[in-house]
Amino acid sequence: MKQAMTPEEIKEEKPYLDWSLTEHEYDYICDKLLKRLPNYTEIGLFSAMWSEHCSYKKSKPVLRLFPTKGKRVVQGPGEGAGVVDIDDGQAVVFKAESHNHPTTVEPYQGAATGVGGILRDVFSMGARPVAILDSLHFGELKNNPTMRYKMEETIRGVGDYGNCMGIPNLGGETTFDSCYNGNILLNAMCVGLMNIKDMEHGKAVGLGNSIMYVGAKTGRDGIHGATFASADFSKEHETQRSAVQVGDPFMEKLLMEACLKLILKHRDWLVGIQDMGAAGIVSSSAEMATEGNAGMKLNLDLVPQREPNMSAYEIMLSESQERMLLCVKKGHEEDVKKIFKDYNLDAVTIGRVIEGENYVLYHEGEQVCDIPVRSLTEDVLEEPSKEIKPQYIIDAEKMPAWRPSFESSGETLKRLLNQPTIANDQFITQQYDSQVRTNTIVKPGSDAGVLRIRHTKKAVAMCTDTNGRFVYLNPKIGGQRSVIESVCNIVASGAKPLAITDCLNYGDPNDPEIFWGLRESCQGIADACRIFETPVVSGNVSLYNENDGQAIYPSPMIGMVGLIKNTDYVIPMHVQEADDIVYLVGKTTADFAGSEVQKMLQGKISGLPEAPNLEVIHDYLKNLHKAMTQGLVTSAHDLSEGGLAVSLAESVFDTEFGLNINLSEFDKTLLFSETPGRLIVSVKPENKSAFESLLGSAVQEIGRVTDQRKLSIKLANDELNTDVASLEKIWKESISCLMKSKA
């Protein structure tokens, strides 16, 4: 087929500007990289591969801040997913990915394909996906039927895909804030398990080896999805529906089983394997060739196609789902075909590894592309970004700290439990199969999900955490606090934190204030990861999360995985026995900037969240973990949104117990402070001295578990006395009430 425009017309009419390629980049490609004018197909490939989504051209300098190495890190960022050693030759493999733009436009398919994509990243490494988590951020539900619809569809999308695949969803987090009204966030994380010896790479190497296409056929869906994800939303873009892909989890299930069979049983036939994710065939093939230092020739006529008359450009950029690209040793093509045929899947040789370093495409008998592979993958112009510290932060640094003022702490607690961000999210998690494959020890609703590793005593804990409000008020401190929350969640389950993945969700990086926030918050994340010894092993960047100029809060999502060496010491979140002693771990200060109570009472957030002392927190959390492995801790629960009172209440929900707490030196407002790095734990009386001698001054005894369903808290200037059942009812019904509301 003829190219849609001649190279000269492209130079003249600049269609690439619509694909987010700048004139400067175009000139650089012409003058420095190709030394000629690129044709229509070639410039289409450049625009996709040089999009932020594929190239990280804006965020690269920021990503370099992260620590990525560690004793247990087998594979850091750069491959499909990060790989972390968990002893005995086994590894956890994990990564998170954002699908914010597609989910905002078409929530069901956007969410479903977000899950589908992250699963492929994990099984392409040779790992079997064993858990899915999500991190969902919606606009306010109240008086917002569109948002309620979008939330329902998003949940259904996440659920349908994972449920059909038979991979348990271990939860995650859901928050609500008006900053996500025009741009919801869907981050999906997948955790896989493998034997390290089975690890695969996305590379193509070895002259004459075949490039094979497996899985679903290619259609016109998702063309330019990567560039779509790399530009702002606006009313004008509402029509970009064609850029959203459509998912088929059944196809993916077959594809996963076939790929795992090939990798695990016939690895000598396979050279490399990669998911066709963002920017479809071009990104997977170009990245594999780059990784293998090879040239590649593809014949696009051989690509299985779902629609007639697709142009080379469309075939290369389609983001049709459930497809993988393999590099197969010459002579084993038929063997590979047979494996995929067993699963009723296409497996087609579409090209070869060739000499040299060029990327050559043929379509309908004509050569439509001949460019150096690296020009697509490595010669991207990094874009220096301007930074400005926003005035509101400079102002906040000089302002006196805000403190809440209220009559009754009991009433305030009830109102807080009714806030959708704090309320029970069973409405959501119940729609996900959390037990399939029968390894789930701790189901959604706890601080972290816990999965045993079958036929061992080991288990892995996992969680996702985002603190958009703190990051907005002070990006560096907010970044640190996000990691602290993850660490606390992982430790609360009895696990030792291993490493993190991230999704960096921000607004338009061309806005110097937003870029400043991006860099500062990543610095904060990096600082905390160094102290907590949790390197960043994989991740994803999602910029341009804006709608008509309104940016989301900077919302880096931390996905953390931890290791439990003995499932006997998985720590539950709920208290277990009357008369157990309740301790507060960590110091409480008047830290209300960005807190849930501030949002609730003020209708907005302001101020400067406190900077945490990372070393101190790290020290006592290490000791707490040690106490857990010695069997000294009966239950543990992290303090996050809503602070101490909310966590105390949550620790007795769904139990037969209550709490008798004495905080007579506490001002009542401190019940709702959100000072980071705190947990409540319960300890048997006979373990009191052993526990205290390990934790020292980091803990404070605050009360006892009782066998009456009452929450009693004595404070310096108030007394909270309320029955647990009424609190539990508010907390459990909040979200489903909102979803049913007619307003």
Binding site: D160, K253, L254, Q430, Q431, Y432, D433, Q435, R437
Partner: protein, 223 residues
């Protein structure tokens, strides 16, 4: 007792069943492909949960045409044990081995939770280790578990004591007469929406599913 676990394209609770039988109950179970045409040598066959053929069209609707189906039908006729859990139950109704149908949950949402069941018939080979009317906790995970049958069929089910499990106190999906599981008239074919294989180990939250497998395995020894 040799047990076949049928793997359809899209089955995903096959491994759960395999581990529950082999690892926990030390039974002898193996996977068989949906392409298998003969199940000779097996004493029992299990249709596990999952999304056979993506549950496209209607849960279980396409699986009923798989090559293995006639062999399953033959086992049922020969009086061998046939157990369908979740998607397996849906397939058994689509095949006509069990009456009625499974509609979408009345909430129109997928539901995963642990529910209480009451054992209504402890006289069939799958339930002898339970007490009559015993209340047990078993997880469910389905989007189409809302059992329906017309009045005549229900009267027949009741008359023949074919209702094996009922949801107790809380009906999660709107099923008629709170039905969670039924058997055929002879009692050798059982279909149920809840997942007993998810309730066989304390570490995973409970063991109320174990008696089902124990009953099942014991009956095999006697037979």
């Amino acid at each position: 007792m040799k047990i076949a676990i049928v793997v359809f394209p899209g089955s995903n609770c096959d491994i759960d069943m395999y581990e529950a039988l082999n690892t926990v109950c030390h039974a002898e179970a193996e996977y068989v492909s949906y392409r298998t045409k003969k199940l000779d040598g097996f004493d029992a066959v299990i249709l596990p949960g999952g999304f056979s053929y993506g549950d496209y069209l209607r849960a279980g609707a396409i699986a009923q045409f798989a090559p293995v189906i006639p062999a399953i039908r033959k086992m049922a006729q020969d009086g061998k044990l046939v157990l369908g859990v979740c998607n397996g139950f849906q397939i058994l109704t689509e095949m006509g081995l069990l009456p009625g149908a499974l509609k979408r949950n009345n909430s129109l949402q997928f539901i995963c939770e642990t529910v209480k069941l009451q054992v209504k018939n402890n006289q069939i080979p799958f339930t002898t280790e339970y007490d009559q009317d015993q209340i047990i906790d078993i997880p469910i995970a389905h989007g189409e578990g809302n059992y329906y049958a017309d009045d005549a069929t229900l009267a027949e089910l009741e008359k023949n004591n074919q209702i094996v499990f009922e949801y107790y106190q809380h009906n999660p999906n709107g099923s008629v007469k709170n039905i969670a599981g039924i058997c055929n008239k002879e009692g050798n074919v059982l279909g149920m929406m809840p997942h007993p294989e998810r309730a066989v180990e304390e570490v995973l939250g409970g063991t109320d599913g174990l008696p089902l497998f124990k009953s099942f395995l014991k009956s095999g020894v006697l037979a």
